[in-house]
């Protein structure tokens, strides 16, 4: 969150792992969603954590997508296309 706060122009997209030092992914998503400054930011969970309860909690907290590792680059691009962040033509 400190890195985000230090940036005048927030990123359009954040890829968020569940297991991180300092703050876990769910806490990060919750904090970002609570701040109107980041309302437009797309949040994609990219993690090894695949329990259904975790997926539900992350999406309920405000994550737009949930990708379980391992993943291929094409899978990420496909998700980004669904979110309108890359043109559909970018999907192989």
């Amino acid at each position: 969150m400190d890195l985000l706060a230090a940036d005048d122009s927030p990123p359009d997209l954040a890829l968020v792992d569940w297991n991180m030092p300092e703050m876990n992914g769910l806490e990060f998503v919750t904090a970002v969603r609570a701040d109107p400054k980041y309302r437009a930011m797309t949040l994609m969970m990219v993690t090894t954590e695949g329990e259904q309860s975790q997926i539900v909690r992350a999406l309920a907290a405000g994550a737009h997508e949930y990708v379980i590792k391992p993943f291929t680059p094409d899978a990420i691009v496909e998700k980004l296309a669904l979110l309108g962040l890359v043109p559909n033509g970018a999907v192989a």
């Binding site: 297991n19 991180m20 090894t48 695949g50 329990e51 309860s53 391992p70 993943f71």
Partner: protein
Amino acid sequence: MNERHGPTDADLLTIAEQVWTSYLDVDGMSPLVPVPAEKPSLDVSASVSMTGAWRGHVVVRCSAAAARNAAAALLGVELDDVTTEDVTDALGELANIIGGNVKSLLPEPCALSLPHVLIHGESGYPHVVEVCRLSGTWREESVTISVLESALVVERTE
């Protein structure tokens, strides 16, 4: 007889194949080739631990050369440019991914730790039993993946 839940050698191979296909062998030219169990290389050891309904560790051990190759492939950098920090990041992520997939085969709920990476040494895992292992060679270098369950829990359930 007590019914044990946990991953098997075959599960570990399936997980490793998915990881290699996604990150370390994208072009299909250098897969991880299983070999008969051998003494694991101890150059680099990366592990994640699990607590909760199942307690134990998933440990990835490999040679220094395999670790550098993994870092180059995973981070998309030239082999000559790989740093020690790259090796630590890459092997930790490898242990995290494999551990997370092992976790999906275990009873819930379980919590996965952050990865721990040791170069030129190995962490001690007291009171554990190895429940499955995958020994292999990748680009002619040794790679071993082990799942270790806390023996204290095993004893209590038997």
